[in-house]
Symmetry: C2
């Protein structure tokens, strides 16, 4: 067996506008160290690719394609939502992973994802201590929710923040023009079921030079209809209009999601609904203002066309750092973004033990939310602003961005067996 | 009274990402012809500004601010939804307009809007023939709906088309990555209640180099649930995922809007709802696929950050042309975009009599829609593609686009009277 071990890389959970930049960082850096790292095999659809021995040979991709990953949104190798149970509960799965890794001489495991993925990566890292199988596992952080601990911020979030701040500013200019005789309230639903980081970015649309009346509804603040409606009325009376940025995770005092309103259609069928129309209906019923509402959904996390340059650079740097960490002999760690200062913004790469990261959720601190619970503080503003800095436009062809699709050629299977999840 | 007449300019109806570029074209061109055109007074909130004698003195704005209008979305002077009745029905309104114009020595009337606004502009133009009041009225086309006749396309539409095509491509890359274990269907609701031009742009996300499974639901094609669900199943079985672009104006065979589903909340209150969640619920009920849906709403028409360069240039050129038309003595006309050729795209400014434009709606031709009613034809593609060409990025400061807000200083009132609408 070749003494130079191969690497396994996979993308996990919800994808982002910059997760492929991390992939580029891993693959390009590994290619620079051919003396220490052999092939980089990507898992097709995350860890599932490893379990099915469905590996993608990234070495077959030309350098030009890999470099285009830097400006291509989504997960180039496919992602998955699949959480590994503990080794005790699920010996067969871990044995299968080791069989596949062993068959393909894989000694390095890079998992690119959020909190659940960090937990999966930690369990793989423990294979070396628990079973003696020689593997070094590094978790590369990624989540638009920005809820991972120890890292100052998470790749993917800065670009969503930029998109939501820009969209809120643009839509607010629009409604301000219409308010005299038409729409007075605009409502934008954003992601973040448990943490209000993305919602907070909506408040960034307003700043000292361009003031905009904005109400933010955070998942961290129990929703109170009376207080909210009063604030809408107050802002419309004062400014003529208002924009509302509402997190999908907003819940009432009893902890029930606002989006869970038991909607039924004309036939009595229960209906899915977002929180934006729910809030819109409250404003219409209580105040009668003409309004519009939007739900950004996937548009916000895939909007590579207006990604934050800072975010792209950090995503790439973390992929690069992951490779350098295994070369330096590390296992069971996650490279982090450490903030050095805000003005001018400076950051560096740090590391944290994976055992401290897994299954910990970083919510928006209360002192990042204004006293009244409807906006953000200067402290939050100082934190968010650098993450949105810089534009990193993709190349365009015929009016549309050119995003790469890799060949994704499979690696020949070496195990005769399949594995059912 | 000064022999050099002043001009009145106003913005009407829904605003766009580029209507302010037309305003810049009007104001900058008028400033170049100070020997023929005096001040340019803008109506605050459209024609309503004239009726209230609430005029904005654009001459007070520095050239640097006016030039920034070119990259600022929304209506810088405010817009309105207010349709003038016929002169017979509404003599008082027209008399008031003439009193205000006369008091401020206004001889040129520029109205920047869509179909209803063209009708208003036509009626103002008729004042010269009906009453002898010396006025030249020019309509400057603007509408994201792209439904004005005689002009090849309408400023505002090209930028929405670009935004929807890019967003559909980005979200499709996202869902493709998730499809194996999670989301298989993505649904995007777009504007266009009566015409499917914007929905058609969603199909542009897929092209020969980047094929994407997309189903478009047009307002021109009666919705059939059975056929739609079968097409969703077919595309998911073949590609693993599908993106659905649905126009807000989609209606069933009986002509009823799909969005009008008689939704009620837990308390039995009727609820507003978009068409995206309605379609999402059908897919969930009939196929059980995990799905996501988005509603672009105002985000699509205010997205100046990714405006089409072609659109910006045409919007500006039409404002410029309007001024040149009055200088050449024209009245009651609308400057148009005339397409010379597709490859390479060339266009020029033409003109059409306003009487032929008012109240005519240009729908998507049937031969622009594919046989099965779920996509677009090559003919439609060849029409849409040039309108999305080129990027025209606004300047950024601290991660956000810098959009201008004018001083909008009022012109001193000369009439002692007010006017109630």
């Amino acid at each position: 067996m070749n003494p130079i071990k191969n690497a396994f890389y996979a993308q996990s959970g919800g994808v982002t506008a910059v997760i492929n930049a991390s992939a580029a960082g891993v693959i390009e850096t590994a290619r620079e160290h051919g003396d220490k790292i052999g092939e980089v095999y990507a898992g097709r659809n995350g860890i599932i690719g490893a379990l099915h021995e469905d590996l993608i040979n990234t070495s077959a991709e030309p350098a030009s394609s890999i470099s285009k990953l830097r400006h291509t949104p989504s997960g180039a190798f496919g992602s998955c939502r699949y959480k590994l149970k503990s080794i005790e509960e699920n010996r067969l799965v871990y044995q299968r992973l080791m069989d596949v890794f062993n068959a393909h001489n894989i000694g390095y495991f890079f998992y690119n994802g959020g909190g659940d993925s960090a937990d999966t990566c930690l369990k793989v890292a423990q294979l070396s201590t628990r079973t003696g199988y020689p593997i070094q596992a590094i978790h590369i952080p990624k989540t638009v929710d920005n809820d991972l601990p120890f890292t100052d911020n998470c790749p993917g979030f800065g670009s969503v923040a930029k998109y939501i701040a820009i969209s809120t500013r643009e839509a607010s200019f629009d409604v301000a023009s219409m308010a005299e005789t038409s729409t007075k309230v605009f409502i934008l639903e954003v992601m973040g079921r448990h943490a209000g980081w993305i919602a907070a970015a909506g408040a960034m649309a307003s700043d000292d030079r361009t003031e905009i009346p904005i109400i933010v509804l955070f998942p961290e603040i129990p929703f109170n209809r009376t207080r909210f409606i009063a604030e809408v009325r107050r802002k419309v009376e004062h400014h003529g209009y208002v924009s509302v940025v509402v997190s999908e995770g907003v819940a009432d005092e009893s902890g029930r999601f606002l989006s869970d309103q038991g909607l039924v259609d004309a036939f009595g069928h229960a209906q899915l609904g977002g929180v934006a129309p729910v809030v819109a209906n409250m404003v219409k019923q209580d105040l009668g203002f003409k309004l519009h509402w939007a739900v950004a959904d996937y548009l916000q996390r895939s909007a590579r066309h207006i990604a934050s340059k800072t975010d792209v650079e950090q995503a790439y740097a973390l992929g690069k750092a992951a490779v350098e960490l295994v070369i330096s002999g590390k296992n069971s760690v996650m490279p982090t973004i450490d903030r050095i200062r805000n003005q001018p913004y400076e950051w560096k790469i740090g590391t944290v033990e994976l055992s401290r990261v897994a299954n910990v959720e970083k919510k928006l601190p209360r002192d990042y939310i204004s006293e009244d619970g409807f906006s953000i503080t200067r402290r939050c503003r100082d934190y968010l602003q650098p993450l949105m800095l810089g534009e990193d436009y993709p190349p365009y062809e015929g009016g549309l961005p050119e995003y790469v699709r890799l060949e994704n050629n499979p690696v020949g299977k070496k195990l005769g067996t399949d594995f059912s999840l």
